[in-house]
C-alpha cells in the first residue's frame, strides 16, 4: 500500500533530499591541530594540557576533539598497571543540536554516556595503550553542530586528534554510517545519513543512536560503523533496529558502511599528510615526517 509510505529517502530519480546519490558521503573536512598545543596542565582552560586536537565536519555536523596525555592518572584507583587508562568524555554545546533545548550534562545524559562508551571501545581497539602503563590518555569531544552522525564524526575527530598528539595507533579508526529502507519492495541502501534520514530510519530525533523500540517504521536500519580500513577490521557496529531481512540484509548494509569508511579514510589520510607537510615545511626540511599510509 503506497499510502503507508511516509518519507521518501530517495527521490524518483535516486537523489537524496540534499542532492547526494545513495553512495556518496557528505562533504567532509578535517583540520588537525585546531587548537594550539600547550604543556601547561594546571590551568582550568579547556585547552589546558592539550597535546593534540582536530576539528572535523561531516556535512553540517561539526566536532572538535582535544586529546591530553599521556599524563599522570590523577587518582591512584584508576591507575592500571599494564596499560594506560583511556578516558573519553563527550559534550554538546548549547547551540549544537538543533531542537535540543538544554545543554546536556555529559555525566548524566544517557545518550552522551552511551556514545562516549562506544567511542572508547572503538578507540581502544587501535591505541597502543600498553606502551603507557600507569598513565592516562583523555579524549574530550565537543559536538559543535549536529546534523546527524555525531558519533561517527566524533570517532573520526578523535582519531585525528590522537594522531596530532602523536599517540601510537595500530591504524586509523574511521567511522561512517549506512542505512537501509525497505520501501515498497525496493531496497534503498544509503551511506552517511544526515539528521533527516536518521529520523526517518529510527523515528526519533536521535542525536546519534535512536531510542530503541521508539517507533520507527519497520524494515529500516541505521547502522553506524567504525573500521580500521587498512586492516579491514570492524571495531564498532551498532544497530538498534529490528532486522527483518536476516543476516544477509545486515551484511549488505555493513558492506556499504565499510566502503563509506574507506572514503572517510582517504580524506582523513589526506588531511594528515597535509598537516605533516605543513609541519615539515615549518621545520624547513630538516626532519623527515613519517606519514601513515
Amino acid at each position: 500500500m503506497t499510502s503507508l509510505r511516509r518519507t521518501d529517502i530517495l527521490s524518483l530519480i535516486h537523489l537524496r533530499s540534499d542532492g547526494r546519490r545513495p553512495n556518496e558521503i557528505r562533504h567532509m573536512s578535517c583540520h588537525l591541530g585546531a587548537l594550539p598545543p600547550t604543556t601547561d596542565c594546571g590551568s582550568a582552560l579547556p585547552t589546558s594540557g592539550c597535546s593534540g586536537s582536530a576539528l572535523v565536519s561531516m556535512g553540517l555536523t561539526q566536532v572538535l576533539c582535544v586529546v591530553r596525555g599521556p599524563c599522570d592518572v590523577g587518582r591512584r584507583s584508576e591507575e592500571l598497571p599494564d596499560r594506560a587508562t583511556l578516558e573519553v568524555t563527550m559534550r554538546t554545546t548549547p547551540f549544537s543540536p538543533p531542537g535540543d533545548r538544554r545543554v546536556t550534562n555529559p555525566s548524566t545524559d544517557r545518550r552522551l554516556i552511551e556514545q562516549s562508551h562506544l567511542l572508547q571501545t572503538a578507540l581502544s581497539a587501535s591505541i597502543l595503550l600498553h606502551l603507557f602503563p600507569k598513565s592516562k590518555i583523555s579524549v574530550a569531544v565537543m559536538v559543535l553542530a549536529d546534523d546527524g552522525g555525531r558519533l561517527e564524526a566524533s570517532i573520526n575527530a578523535a582519531t585525528l586528534a590522537l594522531m596530532d598528539a602523536g599517540i601510537p595507533l595500530k591504524d586509523m579508526v574511521c567511522a561512517c554510517s549506512a542505512g537501509r529502507w525497505n520501501a515498497g519492495g525496493s531496497d534503498e541502501i544509503v551511506v552517511d545519513l544526515n539528521r533527516r534520514e536518521i529520523q526517518a530510519a529510527t523515528g526519533s530525533a536521535g542525536g546519534g543512536g535512536g531510542a530503541p523500540g521508539g517507533g520507527g517504521t519497520s524494515d529500516t536500519i541505521y547502522l553506524p560503523v567504525a573500521t580500521m580500513p587498512q586492516r579491514g577490521t570492524v571495531v564498532l557496529a551498532q544497530c538498534e533496529s529490528r532486522l527483518s531481512g536476516g543476516a544477509e540484509a545486515f551484511g549488505e548494509v555493513l558492506e556499504v558502511a565499510m566502503k563509506g569508511c574507506q572514503m572517510v579514510m582517504e580524506i582523513m589520510a589526506a588531511a594528515v599528510r597535509e598537516r605533516g607537510a605543513g609541519l615539515w615545511k615549518a621545520k624547513e626540511g630538516k626532519a623527515d615526517v613519517i606519514l601513515v599510509d
Binding site: T2, H27, G99, S218, V256
Partner: protein
C-alpha cells in the same frame, strides 16, 4: 557500490586544496519553525549542487531483471540525459519540449496523461509515423523538481499521479512521449540565487515570495533547456549547411499563471538573429497550447480535458455567491475563533445542504449549513472555514424545520425528486461520523432549549477537487422547455451555450452522486457525449458562476446498458477492477506446481472432511469434519484454506491484496481480491483433491462442552463439496438409514452440536437479525435477471455459520493472548439510543416495547414482539430488519487502539471477535492467519504486522473497502432491479410492472408537506416512498397523526375515516419503472387502501386484474 567518478573528482580536489569548489557546495539553508510550546527552532539543512545532472533524468527499465522476493521485476533505473544530442534523441529529433509549472501538474494531469489510442476510425491514413497526427501533448515533458515538490505539498493525490505517470511512461510499449525529471534544486546551472537580501516580514508576503521564487526557478529551467537547444541547433545548422534535418525542437513553458508568463518574456534576453521569435522558449497557457495542437490536428479531442478557471465573459456579470475570504484574514479569523474549520459533508441527497464538524473544547458539534448561498461553493469533502450564525438563527430542535428561503426552492425541488427514488433497502445504518465519533448535533441556547447550530461557509481552506465524478449530460431541446420540465433540464437549458472560438460549447453535466452539484463543461464534442456515461473532474468555482467548472476525462459507455452502469458503479465506489499486474502474477506458483505434504504440516488427509457451500460456489474457503474419538468425545475440525502459504507477506501479491482488501460480489460479476488461480483453484478446498489448510481442531463432548483446542497447519483431502440443500437432506435423513454413511453421520453430529452452541449463544444475548436480501435468477446468456427469489435458509446454513463463529472467536482469543496489542479484531459498537428512538416510538404504536440497554435485552424484546405479532410472521422479521438498520456496522480495528471494553461485538454478544474463516476473499483473515501462525510458532510474524501505525492504516483501509464493496453490491442489485422491472419479456402489458404486498416503514406526518410514506416490499427487498401527490397538502380531509404515525382520509361531511395508513400496515402497491431520456427510476404507487391511492393507478390495476380474470 561501483565507481562513481564524480564523487572521486570532488574529493581529489578536496585532498589537495582542502576546500570545496564553490560551485559544488552551497551554504546551508536555514528555516525557522515555531514549536507548539512557542519556542522558535532553527533547522539547517544542506543542499549539494551537482554538475552531473545533464539535461534531466529519465526512468527506464533496467536491462537485467532484478530478482527479488517478489519475483522478477524489471526495476526502473534513472538514466541521466548527458548531452543535447541525447535529449534530441529522446524527443525523436523534433516536436515540442514542454516545461511544466506547478499549476499544470495540479490541474491538468488529465491532459498530461492523455495518449491517443490507436483506433482506426479517426486516425490518419499515415499510421503511426505520421507526423501530423498528434498523440499527446508533447514529445517530451520536463518536470522540474521544484514543481514536483510544490505539487507534493499541495496535493498528495496529484503527486502520486505524477510519479505514476513518470514511472509508467517509460514502460508502456511504444513510447510516444517521455517524462523528464529535472532536479533543478541540485543542478549547478539552474541554481537560483533568489533575492535573499530582502527580508519581508509579513506572512502573506512571505508566502507570495516563496511562490514567486518557485516560479522563477521553473522559468530558469525552461531558459536552460531553451538556451541549450538553441545553441545546439544553431551550431548544427552552421556546420551542416543542409536543410534535411531541420526539425527544431521547440521549448514551451506551460503555465496558467499569466504573471509568470509575462515575466518569462521580459526576463529573456532578446535574440537578434534569424530565429523566428527571438526567444529561447515560448510561454503558453495550457489552453493556448492545446488549442494550437487542436488546430494542427482537428481529430485530437484534448481540448475537452483542459481545466477551466473562468467562465467566458457574459453580457452582465452576476455574483451568485459571496466572495471567499482570503487566506490571511481566514487564518486570523480561525485563530480568534471567529471562524471554525472543518470538513464539509453534504447531506446524502443534496449538494445545497450539509454539515461541518467543529471542535468545541472537548466535544465536537455538527454544524448545519443550509442553502446554496450559505454552502457558498463548498463541495463534499472540502475543508472549509465557517462562521456561526447568531444563536437566534439556529434551528429549533429536530422537529421544527423552517421553510426554506425562496431562493433555494428550485434546488429544493431538485432534491425532492431525488429523494423519491425507490431502491434496494439498506442492510445496516450508515456508519455515520456522528455515530462513530460521538458528535453532538444540538446545543442548548441561553434558555436551555436545544437548538441545532447553523453557519455559513466563508472560505475554503482546501479543495477536494481531485476526484472524478461519474454521470452524464442532459440533452436540451430548446424548443420544449415547458414548466413541468425536470429541474435538470432547466439548469441545462440555462447554461448551455456556444463559445466564441467556434469549436467549443458549454454543456451541463449531472453526476450520479447527488451530493455533487451540476458541473459546467467546455467541450468540442457535445453530440458525441450525449447519452453517454462520462467521467468528469471539477476545476474551479468562481463566484460569478452559478455552478462549478470542470473538464471531461473519459467516456465510459452508453447510459443504461448493464455493462456501462456496472462500470459506473465500480467507479463510483472506487472498487479496484483492473486486472492483476504482471508483478502480482509473477508471485503465483508455477503451472506444474503440486501440493505435497511438507515438513511442519500435519497430514489430515485420512479425515472425512467435507465442505458445505451455496451451489456454484467457486471459492470454497472452509471445510468441516466431525468424528467420534475412542474416549466417546467428538473431534470437530474447521479447515480454512491456507492462503498465506501462497501469499508471502510483503510480496507484490500481498500488497495488492492489502490494497483491495476484499472481494466484491456484484450480481453479474465477482471482483477477486486474489488472482483466480488462487481463488478458484489452489486455495479453494474443492472435493477430492489435496489442499493446504489451516485447521482448528476441537475435542468436544457430545453435550457440546469444549475439552481441548488445537491449531494446526495441515494438508487435507475433502471427500465432498456439498451444497446447503444436500447437507440439509443429510441432516433430515432418518437415523436408521445412515448407519454406515460417513457424510450423513458427520453432518448430523455437526448439526446437533451447532444447535447446542447456538442456544448457548442466544442465551448469552446474541441477536438474531435479518436482512431483506433477495437473489436474482439470471439468464444464462444475457445475464439479465429473469426472476427474484428470496434466499432459502436451511438449517445447514446455520450449522456452517455456527462453526465459523466458533472458529473466529477461538482464534480471536488465541491471537489476543499472544499479541494483546497487535491483533486485528472486529468490533460492533453498541447502538446509539438516538438511532433507535424512532423505531421505539413506532413500535409503541403497536404496543411493542423495545429495550436496547444491552444485546440480551434487545434480543428478548424482539422475541417477545415476535410472539405478540404472531398474526403476521413477516412483521417479526421486519422489526429485526429495522433494528439492524439502527445499528452501525461492525468494524475492523487493531486491538492496541481501543480499550478492552470497546472490543465487544454487540450483535454476537462476544467479548472478542475476528475474521479468520474467509482468507480467499477478505484481507483481514489473511492478517489473522499470519498472527495465528506466529502465535503457534510455525512462522515468524512479518515485521510490518508489528507496527501499530501500519495496522491502523490497514484496518482503516479494510473498513473503507468493505463498506465500498457492500455499497457497490447493493448498487448492483439496484441496477438489476431496475432492469428486472423494466423488462419487456414479462408477457403482460407495460413490461415488468408488478403488484405486491408491502409494509409501511415510515409515514411523513409533518404539516405542509406532500403526504407520503415509505414502504418495504419483502418479495423484492425494495424500499420506496409512496407519494400521494394527487392529494393537496392542505386538503382538510387529510389528517396527520404524528404520534401514531398515521395518515387518514376522512369523509368531508361525516368525518368518518375512510382510509388510513399507519406504520407497519400492510398495503398493496404497484412497482414500475418510469423512464425518461436520461435515466430510469423505480416508482412505487399505492393500490390499496383504495381511498388513498391515486385514482388512475387504481383503475389501471383494476382493468388489468379484470383482463387477467377474463383470460383465465
Amino acid at each position: 557500490m561501483e565507481n562513481h567518478p564524480h564523487l572521486v573528482h570532488i574529493y581529489r580536489q578536496l585532498s589537495t586544496t582542502n576546500t570545496m569548489p564553490d560551485n559544488l557546495f552551497t551554504t546551508p539553508t536555514r528555516r525557522f519553525h515555531l514549536t507548539r510550546r512557542g519556542k522558535i527552532l532553527q533547522t539547517t539543512t544542506e543542499r549539494y549542487l551537482r554538475d552531473d545532472l545533464g539535461y534531466g533524468t529519465l526512468l527506464l527499465p533496467s536491462k537485467k531483471p532484478n530478482a527479488t522476493i517478489a519475483g522478477d521485476v524489471t526495476e526502473l533505473v534513472p538514466i541521466t540525459i548527458d548531452t543535447v544530442d541525447m535529449l534530441c534523441r529522446v524527443t525523436n529529433g523534433g516536436g515540442t519540449l514542454v516545461v511544466v509549472d506547478t499549476n499544470v501538474l495540479l490541474h491538468h494531469m488529465d491532459v498530461l496523461e492523455y495518449i491517443r489510442e490507436r483506433d482506426g476510425d479517426n486516425h490518419h491514413e499515415g499510421g503511426d509515423d505520421d507526423e501530423e497526427a498528434i498523440h499527446s501533448i508533447a514529445a517530451a515533458v520536463v518536470i522540474p523538481q521544484t514543481a514536483l515538490e510544490e505539487c507534493r505539498n499541495r496535493s498528495l493525490v496529484m503527486y502520486r499521479r505524477v510519479t505514476d505517470l513518470i514511472r509508467s511512461s517509460s514502460t508502456g510499449g511504444k513510447r510516444k512521449r517521455s517524462f523528464i525529471v529535472f532536479a533543478d534544486l541540485h543542478h549547478v546551472d539552474t541554481q537560483h540565487c533568489g533575492a535573499d537580501d530582502e527580508e519581508s516580514k509579513k506572512e502573506e508576503e512571505e508566502v507570495r515570495k516563496i511562490n514567486d521564487e518557485n516560479d522563477a526557478r521553473i522559468r530558469k529551467v525552461a531558459y536552460y533547456y531553451g538556451k541549450a537547444l538553441y545553441n545546439y541547433q544553431r551550431g548544427r545548422t552552421y556546420n551542416s549547411h543542409s536543410d534535411e534535418d531541420n526539425r527544431n525542437i521547440e521549448v514551451v513553458f506551460l503555465s496558467d499563471d499569466a504573471q509568470s508568463r509575462q515575466l518569462a518574456i521580459q526576463e529573456q534576453p532578446q535574440q537578434h538573429n534569424n530565429n523566428k521569435k527571438g526567444l529561447y522558449y515560448t510561454p503558453r497557457s495550457m489552453r493556448e497550447h492545446v488549442t494550437l495542437l487542436q488546430k494542427q490536428d482537428p481529430t485530437l479531442n484534448l481540448l475537452d480535458m483542459v481545466a477551466q478557471f473562468h467562465i467566458p465573459p457574459a453580457a452582465q456579470r452576476i455574483e451568485y455567491y459571496p466572495p471567499h475570504i482570503d487566506s490571511a484574514a481566514l487564518s486570523l479569523g480561525l485563530k480568534t475563533n471567529r471562524y471554525h474549520q472543518g470538513v464539509f459533508r453534504s447531506d446524502r441527497d443534496s449538494y445545497s445542504s450539509g454539515y461541518v464538524t467543529v471542535r468545541r473544547g472537548q466535544e465536537r458539534v455538527a454544524v448545519l449549513i443550509r442553502g446554496g448561498r450559505n454552502v457558498n461553493r463548498a463541495v463534499d469533502g472540502d475543508i472549509v472555514a465557517i462562521e456561526l450564525f447568531a444563536v437566534e438563527e439556529w434551528l429549533a430542535s429536530a422537529d421544527g424545520q423552517q421553510s426554506p428561503p425562496p431562493q433555494q426552492q428550485q434546488q429544493q425541488s431538485a432534491k425532492a425528486t431525488k429523494e423519491e427514488h425507490a431502491g434496494i433497502a439498506p442492510e445496516t445504518a450508515e456508519p455515520t461520523l456522528k455515530d462513530m465519533d460521538n458528535i453532538n448535533e444540538e446545543l442548548p441556547d441561553e434558555t436551555g432549549t436545544l437548538r441545532r447550530p447553523t453557519a455559513k461557509v466563508v472560505g475554503i481552506i482546501r479543495r477536494n477537487f481531485h476526484k472524478n465524478y461519474c454521470g452524464s449530460l442532459v440533452s436540451v431541446d430548446h424548443a420544449t422547455t415547458s414548466d413541468d420540465a425536470h429541474p435538470h433540464d432547466i439548469i441545462a437549458a440555462k447554461h448551455e451555450c456556444e463559445h466564441a472560438d467556434g469549436i467549443t460549447s458549454t454543456v451541463v453535466f449531472f453526476s450520479i452522486d447527488s451530493r455533487i452539484p451540476p458541473i459546467l463543461l467546455r467541450t468540442t464534442q457535445r453530440e458525441r457525449l450525449l447519452g453517454m456515461r462520462i467521467l468528469v473532474s471539477m476545476d474551479s468555482w468562481p463566484s460569478d458562476s452559478e455552478w462549478p467548472l470542470g473538464h471531461y476525462v473519459k467516456t465510459l459507455g452508453m447510459v443504461g446498458t448493464k455493462d456501462t452502469e456496472t462500470e459506473v458503479l465500480l467507479q463510483e465506489f472506487r472498487i479496484p477492477c483492473e486486472p492483476f499486474p504482471a508483478k502480482v502474477l509473477a508471485c503465483l506458483p508455477p503451472p506444474d506446481y503440486k501440493i505435497e505434504l511438507e515438513p511442519g504440516r500435519v497430514d489430515l488427509r485420512h479425515l472425512p472432511i467435507l465442505s458445505i457451500d451455496p451451489p456454484g460456489c467457486k471459492d470454497i474457503d472452509d471445510a468441516l469434519h466431525c468424528i467420534e474419538l475412542d474416549n466417546g468425545n467428538w473431534q470437530v475440525g474447521v479447515h480454512i484454506a491456507d492462503v498465506t502459504h501462497y501469499v508471502e507477506a510483503g510480496s507484490a501479491i500481498d500488497l495488492e491484496a492489502a490494497n483491495r482488501s476484499t472481494s466484491t460480489y456484484l450480481v453479474n460479476k465477482r471482483l477477486d481480491m486474489l488472482p483466480s488461480l488462487l481463488t478458484t483453484d489452489l486455495c479453494s478446498l474443492k472435493g477430492n483433491v489435496d489442499r493446504f489448510a489451516f485447521s482448528v481442531l476441537w475435542e468436544v463432548t457430545p453435550e457440546a462442552d469444549i475439552v481441548d483446542v488445537e491449531f494446526k497447519k495441515s494438508i487435507i483431502h475433502s471427500i465432498a463439496a456439498l451444497t446447503y440443500q444436500q447437507a440439509q437432506s443429510l441432516i433430515d435423513k432418518p437415523e436408521k438409514q445412515c448407519q454406515n454413511d460417513i457424510q450423513a453421520g458427520a453432518v448430523k453430529r455437526l448439526a446437533s452440536l451447532a444447535r447446542k452452541f447456538r442456544s448457548r449463544r442466544i442465551k448469552a444475548g446474541a441477536l438474531t437479525l435479518a436482512s431483506p436480501e433477495v437473489k436474482f435468477v439470471l439468464d444464462s446468456e444475457s445475464l439479465n435477471p429473469t426472476d427474484v427469489q428470496a434466499y432459502t435458509l436451511y438449517e445447514a446454513n446455520a450449522v456452517v455459520e455456527e462453526f465459523m463463529l466458533l472458529a473466529n472467536v477461538t482464534v480471536a482469543k488465541k491471537i489476543l493472548r499472544h499479541y494483546p496489542t497487535l491483533s486485528i479484531l472486529r468490533r460492533h459498537p453498541a447502538p446509539n439510543r438516538s438511532m433507535f428512538d424512532s423505531l421505539i416510538q413506532k413500535a409503541k404504536t403497536r404496543g411493542i416495547s423495545i429495550c436496547i440497554d444491552d444485546s440480551k435485552k434487545l434480543a428478548d424484546s424482539l422475541d417477545a414482539a415476535g410472539k405478540s405479532l404472531a398474526s403476521d410472521p413477516y412483521l417479526d422479521q421486519l422489526l429485526r430488519i429495522l433494528s439492524t438498520r439502527c445499528m452501525s456496522p461492525a468494524q475492523y480495528f487493531c486491538s492496541g487502539e481501543y480499550q478492552a471494553k470497546d472490543w465487544h461485538h454487540y450483535g454476537l454478544a462476544a467479548p472478542v471477535y475476528t475474521h479468520f474463516t474467509s482468507p480467499i476473499r477478505r484481507y483481514a483473515d489473511v492478517c489473522v492467519h499470519r498472527l495465528l501462525a506466529a502465535a503457534i510458532g510455525v512462522a515468524p510474524l512479518p515485521v510490518f504486522l508489528s507496527s501499530k501505525s501500519y495496522l491502523h492504516d490497514l484496518a482503516a483501509n479494510m473498513n473503507r473497502r468493505h463498506r465500498a464493496a457492500q455499497l457497490a453490491g447493493r448498487a448492483s442489485v439496484q441496477l438489476h432491479t431496475l432492469i428486472f422491472f423494466s423488462g419487456e419479456d414479462d408477457g403482460g402489458e407495460g413490461g415488468g410492472i408488478k403488484e405486491e404486498d408491502a409494509y409501511v416503514l415510515d409515514v411523513e406526518t409533518a404539516e405542509n408537506t406532500e403526504p407520503s410514506f415509505t414502504v418495504m416490499v419483502p418479495r423484492y427487498g425494495i424500499e420506496g416512498r409512496v407519494r400521494l401527490s394527487h392529494l393537496a397538502t392542505e386538503d382538510p380531509c387529510l389528517v396527520r397523526d404524528p404520534v401514531n404515525f398515521r395518515l387518514s382520509y376522512k369523509d368531508e361531511k361525516s368525518g368518518k375515516v375512510l382510509a388510513s395508513v399507519a406504520v407497519f400496515d400492510k398495503v398493496r402497491v404497484k412497482i414500475w419503472v418510469k423512464s425518461s431520456r436520461d435515466h430510469r427510476e423505480l416508482v412505487v404507487d399505492l393500490i390499496e387502501p383504495v381511498r388513498l391511492a391515486k385514482p388512475d393507478v387504481v383503475s389501471a390495476s383494476k382493468s388489468k386484474t379484470k383482463k387477467q380474470k377474463t383470460k383465465k
